[in-house]
Symmetry: C2
């Protein structure tokens, strides 16, 4: 592995070779020995891509909507990267094969790069690998990167902290869900999409959303009025309106200095996640894990409380 020529890989990726992009993402996903060298090599080229997050409950049409957006950006001759995140929860209703198939329309287009990020059983892996994969796509010259995931907030990968603009998708007939979700989606959405807008209940969903927005107070600083766009992703209806709304939000971010703020927030979280991961590894490794094993035995037996144990453990980090 020491024969990997990372600067050549980065140059190839920037020249538009999908295999080099894929290889770089693998190098950051696998926590390979080249991870740090790759991260350093990418740095000078990052910061150009627009990062759009798409999220929403299962069944709302996220992958179809992603595919629709890919087509819309391709029509403008922009290069588009897609990170489809499967948080690997058995109950998330995450990436099913059928969903992903819609994106296959684009797999023969060399200006579209699609990567499914799934790490069942590797908790913590996605939280550091996803921002790195995003940096690979950004540095490789993709103009737009779409990050698609189910759920927000509780997920290990917080799409909101990754994206410049977060799109929350809903669909008719999920009224209860909307009520339950109230506070959460108001906080995270920059743009709302009511997909499947040709179905019964779409008007009601839009009304419910408008009502929620009118009640909500946003804590994101300068006010941005969240638009509601109706789409039928399967037919492409509403794609132009959605892209306009995304452009308008991008312009707003730039003119209000929010783009820099959001990206610095993203960098801060990324640095923290890496540092915490490193410290966690050090904690587990204190005397080959022997200290933690002994402390856990004492806590389970009731002879020590977990806070005192944690103090002893961090005290040994040195």
């Amino acid at each position: 592995m020491s024969s990997v020529d990372i600067s050549a890989l980065v140059a190839d990726a920037r020249a538009g070779r999908p295999s080099a992009v894929a290889r770089l993402i693998s190098l950051v996903e696998d926590e390979s020995p080249h991870l740090r060298a790759v991260a350093a090599a990418l740095s000078p080229y990052v910061g150009r891509a627009r990062v759009l997050g798409l999220t929403g409950p299962p069944g709302v049409g996220k992958s179809t909507s992603t595919s629709m957006l890919v087509s819309a950006f391709r029509a403008r001759d922009l290069r588009v990267g897609v990170l489809a995140i499967d948080p690997s929860s058995p109950f998330s209703g995450g990436a099913l094969l059928g969903d992903r198939i819609r994106l296959h329309d684009h797999t023969t287009d060399p200006s579209v790069f699609i990567r499914s990020m799934a790490t069942r059983g590797h908790l913590g892996g996605l939280a550091t690998a996803t921002p790195q994969a995003l940096r690979v796509l950004d540095a490789s010259g993709f103009d737009v990167v779409l990050v698609e995931t189910v759920g927000v907030g509780q997920s290990e990968v917080d799409i909101v902290s990754l994206a410049d603009t977060t799109v929350v998708l809903l669909a008719p007939g999920m009224g209860d869900g909307i009520q339950a979700a109230k506070a959460g989606i108001l906080e995270v959405a920059d743009v709302f999409v009511v997909n499947k807008a040709d179905r019964d209940g779409a008007d009601q969903t839009v009304r419910d959303l408008k009502h929620m927005i009118s009640l909500g107070r946003r804590s994101l600083g300068p006010s941005w009025r969240q638009p509601i766009v109706r789409t039928v992703a399967t037919s492409g209806d509403g794609a132009a309106e959605l892209v306009s709304a995304l452009d308008a939000h991008h312009d707003w971010l730039v003119s209000h200095g929010e783009l820099t703020t959001r990206r610095e927030t993203r960098a801060r979280r990324e640095i923290e996640a890496i540092a915490v991961r490193e410290l966690r590894a050090r904690l587990g490794g204190v005397r080959g894990g022997e200290v933690l094993d002994r402390l856990a035995e004492q806590v389970a037996a009731g002879s020590l409380d977990p806070y005192a144990a944690a103090d002893e453990l961090t005290g040994k980090l040195g």
Copy 2:
């Protein structure tokens, strides 16, 4: 607040006073200045309660099933604690009021203590507060503690690491979900419940589960054959069979030394979570956050990569 008499509170809680139990849980939830003193005071009394985790997709009848189990254990004159965890995801379909109402049947019973753990917007809070609340109930003399949550794996609170026995609930007509969930639920379930077993499709769900179990290999050491129990939680049908299955699993845990192993694993994760939280606070606090702010600016601007930034940050922990 310095006038809190913690040992008196612990004595009151152990004497069966719900208000003392509630107060202690608040003291560990709020990260109050008394947190460490409470944790230390509880230690000698923990390790007696049986901890049962209930999980499953939204709509499967988790709260009704919890209520059914509470009744079954009360019929044996056992004291029962319930921690209902709302991971506060806008899309989780988590704690709706209607769900919780079923548990209200038990609210007048002084031998049942129900606490809803919800911390919307306080990421990281549940991960440390829930095990502490569990310790309060355990030390207060509850014979059984039921921990109910939606989802597993991606959730911040990993019910599997908290529980001695994990019950996964499914319901007829969720075939796709089961397929998608395959690997995940096989790994975590000690006991399967097919609730709403009076509905069409229950036989098929049981067959699907049996098929999955026959295909799966479990990585949990000594083999335990996961039973499938049919219930109709709304009527109480199947309650006795479920309790028998839970008892059988408890006996198996004890006879195979697995109970101690699981509880030491729980203690290890709890210690780690506290230590990581502490270290994360220290990272953010390096020179009043000024170092992290500067590093984030450099990373966002592309003049530094996040790994080098993380190294610089952890290097300043001292």
